[in-house]
Amino acid sequence: MSSRPGTSSAVVSREYTFRCSLRNGLHARPATHLVEVASRYDSDISLTNQRTQAIADGKSLLSLVSIDLAESDECHVQIRGIDAEAALHAMCEFTRDVLPACDEPPLPAPVPNVAMVVPRALRDTTFYPGTPVCDGVGRGRVVLLDGFAFPTDLDTQASGSIEVELRRVEDVFAAVRAKLAASYEAVTDETERGVLKAHLSIVSDNSLRSKVTALVNSGSSAGDAINQISRYFIDLFQSSDNAVTRDRAVDVKDIAMQLLKELYGDQVQQGHVRLTTPSIVVAENLTPSQFQALDKQYLEGLILEHAGATSHAMILAAAHGIPTLTDVSDACVRLANVETVIVDANCSLVIPDVNHITEAHYQRVKQRDEQRQHRLERYVGCGVQTTDGQAFSISANVSTGIEVAKAHEQGADGVGLFRTELMYMDREDAPTEEELFTAYAETARVAGPHGVTLRTIDIGGDKPVAYLDLNPEENPFLGNRGVRLYRDKRDLFAAQLRAILRASAFGKLKLMVPMVSNVEEIRWVKSRIAETKQSLKAAGQAFDENLSIGIMVEVPSVVYQLRDLSHEVDFFSIGTNDLAQYFFAVDRGNERVTELCDTSHPAFLRFLKTIIDEAHRHGRPVSICGEMARSARMLPLLVGLGLDGISVAPSAILRLKALLSGLSAAECRRVADTALDATDPREVEVALQTYHAQGLAIQMSEPDLMLTDSHSHSKAAAIAEFVDALYVAGRTDAPEIIESAFWTREETCSTAVGHGFAIPHCKTDAITVNSFGVVRLADPIEWGDDSDTPVHCMVILAIRESDPDRTHMRVLAKLARKLMEDSFRSRIMAAGDRIDLLNCLAEELHLKS
C-alpha cells in the first residue's frame, strides 16, 4: 500500500474561529451549504457557538441550526481526522468567502398588498385582526384542522429486540426519503420543490438519525425514539430568537409525522381533513404536508393562529394565491361554532359574522374587482400603441416556468427575460439536460406568439453554487461570471444549449447571453450553438433553425462595438441595473454610495440614447429589462428615447400599458430631448413633471370619473360609489384608505357649499394621481349637517400628500373657485353625458383635452 505524497495516515487536529456575519444568523439555507462542504471530508467537524457554548456537528443541518448562531456570534471550529488539513482549508475559505453571501431566503417570502384600514361599512361588524400572508378575499364554511399534537396513544412498546427496532428506524427513514425523492422528481413547481428539498435534507440529517439510533440502542422503541428526538429539535428551534429558524420547527414536525405514519399507519392521526365544499381552513399552525393535502378546489382561505409568515406552508399558500391570515389569536376557539366565515386578507380581517351588511360590502368589493380586472383586460393579448401610433412592447421578467403562463394573463407581450439560473441553485449537482429540456419545453409550449427569451445562466462568484467549484473572488461583479464562465464550464453550457434548442421545437424561444464584453465572446457562443445544431440534426432531433439570438447590454465596452455585434445577434436588451453600476462605478448594495447610481441622470440617458441610436442604425431592436423600466414616471422618457420596448415585473404590466395608450410619442420625444440636455437628475425630473402637467385632462380626470346619473341615496353610498370608480380606474390600490380619508374630512367640517352642491375631498398618498370627478345625483340626498338644501351634485377631489404638484393644485383651486359661480354650476348640471361633462370642465379649467 503506497501512500500519496503529502498525506499521512495520522489523525490530525485543527481549529479556527470565525465570526458569523449573516444578518439572519446561521439558519437552514446557509447551514445547508456548510454541511455540503463539511461532508466532503472524513474528519469530524464540530462548531461551537462561543456565546452559548452549544456544539453542533458540522455535517448535520439540524444540529447546526439548533446552536442558534446569530449575527456577530463567534464560532469555534474543531476538525479532527486524517484529512483535517484539507478540511480546515476548505472550511476557512467557505466561512470567509462564501458564507457571508448566503443570506437571501431561497423561497421569496410572500409580500401581500395591504390596505390596513377597516372598511367603513364594516366599522360596526365584529372582526378579528391578523397578519396577511397572501392577499385576496375568501369565503366559505369553517373547517377546523386539528393540531398535529404528537400521538400519545400509540402502542409504542419496544419489540424487545434492539435489532428489530433499529431495522424499523432504517426502513422508515428510507421509506420517507424515497417518497420525498419521488415527489421531488415529479413536481415541477419551483416553490414546492424548494420545500421538498428542505424536507429531504431534514430526513437525511446525520444528527437526527444518530440521536434516534442512540435512543433505540438504549432500549426505546423506534416510535418513541423518533417522537422524542423530533420534539427535542422542535423545541430547540421554537425557542430560537431567529424567526426563520422558528419557522423550520414546523418542517421537523412534518417529517416526524411522516416517519410515524410510516411506522404506525392509520393509527397516526395526521391532522388531515377532506374538503367537500368551499371552505376556510382554521388551524393553530400548518405543516407543508397538511397544506399540500388540502383540496385546492375547495380551499377558499386559511386562518392560522401562529404560523410564521416565512414558514413553508405559508409560502406554499401564497404561491397558490390562497387568501391567508396568520396571528389570529385563538382563532380555533373563536370560530369553533361559526358556520361561515370571511377571510379578508386585503384588509387583514376575519369576519365571523356574515350578515347582510357584510354580504353587501363584499358583493360590492367583488363587483369592483371584476370591473377593474375587466377594464385592464382590454390590454391582455394585444399590444398597445401611443396615441400617435407608435408601437412599444411591454414584456415580462420571470424566473420560473409557472410565471410564464401567468405573465400572459397579466398582459405581457411575451417574456423578455427568463432568468434560467434558478434551476441551478440550491442543489447538490447540476440539473441534467433532460431536466432542463422538460422545463424549457413546457415554457415553449405556453410561450405564445411573442415568445420567451431565455437568458443563459448568469452566475458568478457571488452566488454559492457549490458543485460549480467557483473560486471565491475579490470582486465577483467584475470577475468570472456570465458568458466568461462558459469556456470553463463547457459541459454545463453545452447541456443548457442542447436543452434550449430541443425545446425550441415546441414554441417560440429566443436565447440571450449575459455579461458579453466583446465580439469574440458572442462568436464563440454562436460556434457552440452551431455545433449543437449539427449534433441535434445528426440525431434527428427537431429544433428551431432560426432561433433568435441576442445579448444583454450591461458591460459598457459593448456600447462601442454595437456595429460589429449587430452582425452577430438579432436583438439587444439593456440590463440597466448592472450597466448603471459599471457606468457610475457604484455598488448598488452599498448604502453609502447607492444614490450615485441614478438611472435618471442625464449622462446615463445620453448613454442609453447612444445605444438605441447605434443599434437602430444597424437594424436591431433594443429594449430595457432593468428596474428603471418599471417606473410609470419614466415611461414617457423611455418611449421618447426611442426604445422598442421594455420588460418588467408582471404585476406592473397592465398599469404601464394603460399609461402608454395615453402617451403621445411626439411629446415623449420632446421630453426626452429636454432630459438629454439637462445637467442633473433634478432638471430631468422637472422635464417629466412638465410633461405630466400638460396631459392634465387625461391625468386628473377621465370620463369614468364623471358619474352623471348616480342613483346613490345617501352620502355614504355616493362616496362609496366614487371611491369604487377611482379604484376601477386604477387611480388607487387602497380604496378603503381613500374612503376613510374622505370621511375624515367630512367629520371635520361640512363640505356642502350651498346651492345643492358639495365638495368632498381628501389628501392621501393612497391616490396615485391627483384626481377630480363629479357625481350628479338623480335624487338629491341629505348631507347630514346643518346645511339648508339637500345635495344634488358632488364635485370630488382627491390629492396626494407627498410630491405636491403645483399645476394640479392650481387646477383644483380654480375648480373650487368656479363652484361659487352660478353659471359654472349650471353648466355642470346641464352637460349631457360623461364626455360632455368632462369637456365642459376641461374648457372651463383651461385644460388640454
Partner: protein, 97 residues
C-alpha cells in the same frame, strides 16, 4: 373701504379658495377694494405685504386653522370668521365692518 383678508382651511384644497372667491366677489359687489391671501396646499399665495396691510382699513380672517404670520396684522382690526361663514354667508361678514 380697503380690505385685506386671509383664508385658510385644514386640507387647503377647496374651502380656502372658495372662501377667497366669495370674499372677493362680495367685496367688489359692495364697492370695496379687497386683496385676499390664500393659505392652502400650495402654501401662501398672493401674500399680503406690509405696505398693503398698513393701507387697509380692516382685516378679515376666514380660517378654520391658525393663520400663518399673524403678527403682520398686529395693528389691525381683525374680523375672524369660519371658512363656512365666508362661503355661505359672506354678505353678513361685510355688515360687521
Amino acid at each position: 373701504m380697503k380690505i385685506v383678508a386671509v383664508t385658510a382651511c385644514p386640507t387647503g384644497i377647496a374651502h380656502t379658495y372658495m372662501a377667497a372667491e366669495q370674499l372677493e366677489k362680495t367685496a367688489k359687489s359692495l364697492g370695496h377694494e379687497i386683496k385676499v391671501e390664500t393659505q392652502g396646499a400650495m402654501g401662501i399665495e398672493h401674500e399680503l405685504t406690509v405696505d398693503v396691510i398698513r393701507d387697509a382699513d380692516v382685516a378679515i380672517f376666514a380660517a378654520d386653522i391658525e393663520v400663518e404670520q399673524r403678527d403682520r396684522f398686529d395693528d389691525k382690526r381683525i374680523i375672524e370668521v369660519s371658512v363656512q361663514d365666508a362661503i355661505k354667508k359672506p354678505t353678513a361678514i361685510f355688515e360687521k365692518i
